[in-house]
């Protein structure tokens, strides 16, 4: 196990290194931030001073090495725009995005698994057909439109839910569970007001995922029900509940975990649309703003963090895999 983890970490290191190079060169190619950052009226001397201060006068490879050297010490550069460490900026926004992404994923499993299971077990029932038709809608309706519709119905017409912002936020201090609403990482889901604010963005983000989980689960159930071991389990005289929830369920969880893991990653990284529609101050909005003003350090830092996150999620998925499927062994344990 340890050997496996160490090997994975070394691999991860190389991936991060390769990614940093690609990202750095890529962002460099997008355009010159100087044009946007410095006012057109500035004279040549002012201009050069600014360029030097930002470290943009060095050749690309030197800039990259400076960046790498700083990155090793945990410094991913300062934002050109906010003049604050890029990492700090991103971490400030992270809780907002994380709670949205995890909330949506949790909701997707909570709703998707039972519906998919039902549709898989009773493929010909009217309810199953309705579920499957609904999932097609969930797949194909564009996120921004659904978001706008949600706002129109629940915020504007019914007035039940707030449409923008995170509402009241709190943080959990240490392990004692004392909440503080002034400092530390701020979470919306700890207050009622925050929860109310979270509801619509979460639902909006979850809609696609619910459909995905429904379809995956249904396909898995349909396939697994035909397997000999399910028939054998019935031939043993087990109750239908035992057959479904132990014999079938554990087998269909394998593809579901893979896809949901990857979906979680991409939700955290790219929930831009939902965050924009609901003015949710998360990372997605930050990255879009940064790209607009070519705030290089923030873009690079953001992408680096996303790479790390994907690597971590993949590792967790692999570990979960080995728990679910005994045929996947991560270690060379002799039996």
């Amino acid at each position: 196990m340890t050997v496996y983890l160490v090997r994975r970490l070394i691999q991860a290191l190389f991936v991060v290194l390769a990614m940093s190079l690609i990202v750095f060169v890529g962002v460099y190619a997008i355009g010159d931030p100087v044009e946007i950052l410095i006012s057109p009226d500035a004279d040549q001397i002012e201009r050069e001073r600014a360029v030097k201060a930002l470290g943009l006068d060095l050749p690309l490879w030197e800039q990259y090495l400076v960046f790498l050297g700083n990155a090793v010490q945990g410094n991913l550069g300062r934002s050109f725009v906010f003049n604050e460490p890029a990492l700090k900026l991103i971490l400030q926004r992270m809780p907002a995005t994380l709670e949205l992404a995890f909330g949506a994923t949790f909701l997707a499993l909570l709703v998707g698994l039972p519906l998919g299971l039902y549709a898989g077990l009773r493929p010909n029932a009217q309810a199953s057909k309705t579920i499957m038709a609904g999932s097609i809608l969930g797949f194909s309706l564009p996120t921004f439109w659904v978001g706008l519709m949600l706002i129109m119905v629940f915020a504007v017409q019914l007035g039940w839910l707030p449409s923008t912002g995170r509402g009241e936020t709190c943080s959990v201090l240490g392990f004692v569970g004392i909440t503080s609403c002034s400092s530390g990482m701020q979470w919306s889901f700890l207050t009622w007001d925050g929860l109310a604010h979270m509801t619509m963005p979460t639902v909006n983000l979850a809609l696609f995922k619910i459909s995905l989980v429904i379809r995956l689960t249904r396909a898995g159930v349909r396939e697994t029900m035909l397997m000999d071991y399910v028939k054998f389990a019935r031939a043993k005289g087990l109750s239908p509940a035992r057959v479904t929830f132990v014999h079938v369920f554990k087998n269909i969880m394998i593809p579901v975990v893979t896809v949901v893991g990857l979906e979680l990653g991409s939700t955290i990284a790219f929930s831009v649309v939902t965050e924009s529609v609901f003015a949710w101050p998360g990372m997605g909005k930050l990255i879009i703003d940064s790209i607009n003003v070519l705030d290089r350090p923030v873009i690079v830092a953001y992408l680096m963090i996303i790479v790390l996150m994907f690597i971590t999620i993949n590792l967790v998925v692999d570990l979960t895999y080995s728990m679910l499927d005994p045929r996947v062994r991560l270690e060379n344990k002799g039996t």
Binding site: Y229, F232, A235, I254, R327
Partner: protein, 328 residues
């Protein structure tokens, strides 16, 4: 004579597919007594497996038992509710499947799969259930059963997996075991070992056994009685030695002739011409007519099964009774 363990009368199991009604099992009758072994023989698609599933009440839609009765110790299984059936399954009637690689759930440990079977039918503690599982594994010849209980199916070889499946079937010392080609996927030495084990178990515990196979040599060594199926019907049945030595139905005769043997070395292998008819549209009349070496006008009408001699049933107008005829 005591009540037979299982008596199947005029069983008909049909599949209602979009393309039409498939008569997978059509008017099948047989019976089997305590401690006896019945060999159910036939080609692929002859309805052997569906017969087995019908006995356990495991025919899935679009299939359905449409007629006949399955008397198990005097009670009709075909009329039982699903709950009553579940009570018997794995408990009094057990089944062993063909492919040992597929019958055990790959993601559950062997002990889980055995203990759940014990607990499904007996109110005992988990520890007692584990004891029972371990003892049964030992009984079917699995070395160090304590350790093996903690293994997953993929850590066993095919033969060992089939032993585990057999052990699961034996957990409750059932009165009847339906074994669906359990040794087909195994190599010959393992097959021999398993056959010997099963024979021993059947004779010591009084368990009746339906052994479904297409392998006549297995039946010859194992079974007491034999029933030959063709296109969803039993065409011939009787004591194993009589049927194999003096087959009455031309199909049985052809089957026996198809077995390669050392004495016929050098000669081209004999085969039955043609193919098993599609069960979707069986022509009226004898189903074997098109492949039979000597069909007549009479064969255009479906022959009824009739008892030629005590315990010797055949479904043919022209049974091969004359030794001279057989030589031809």
């Amino acid at each position: 004579m005591a009540t037979p363990t299982l008596e199947v009368r005029n069983l008909r199991t049909h599949f209602f597919t979009r393309a039409g009604v498939v008569k997978a099992v059509d008017d099948v009758s047989f019976s089997i007594e305590r401690g006896k072994v019945l060999g159910l023989v036939g080609e692929s698609g002859s309805g052997k497996t569906v017969t087995g599933f019908s006995v356990l009440g495991l025919v899935d839609p679009p299939g359905r038992i449409v007629g006949g009765s399955i008397l198990f110790q005097g009670r009709d299984l075909a009329k039982m509710s699903e709950a009553e059936m579940r009570d018997l399954r794995g408990n009094r009637i057990a089944m062993i499947f063909q492919d040992p690689m597929m019958t055990l759930n790959p993601v559950l440990r062997v002990d889980t799969q055995m203990i759940e079977t014990v607990l499904a039918h007996k109110k005992v503690s988990r520890e007692e259930a584990r004891q029972r599982a371990r003892d049964t594994l030992g009984m079917v010849g699995i070395p160090s059963p304590d350790e093996r209980l903690k293994s997953y199916p993929h850590q066993f070889s095919g033969g060992m997996r089939q032993r585990v499946a057999i052990a699961i079937a034996l957990l409750h010392e059932p009165d009847l075991i339906v074994a669906d080609e359990p040794t087909t996927a195994l190599d010959v030495t393992i097959q021999g070992q398993i056959l010997a084990e099963v024979q021993k178990l059947a004779s010591t515990t009084g368990t009746a056994l339906i052994w479904i196979t297409h392998d006549l040599s297995v039946v010859a060594g194992l079974a007491d009685d034999i029933a030959v199926m063709y296109a969803g019907r039993i065409v011939e049945q009787g004591a194993v030695s009589e049927v194999l030595d003096a087959p009455l139905h031309p199909y049985t005769y052809g089957l026996i002739g198809s077995v390669p043997s050392r004495n016929k070395r050098g000669e081209p292998l004999r085969q039955i011409p043609g193919m098993t008819p599609s069960l979707l549209n069986i022509q009226p009349g004898c189903a074997f007519r098109t492949r039979c070496p000597r069909p007549t006008q009479a064969c255009l009408v479906e022959p009824e099964i009739r008892e030629l001699a005590p315990g010797r049933d055949v479904r043919c107008f022209h049974p091969m009774s004359e030794p001279a005829e057989r030589a031809a």
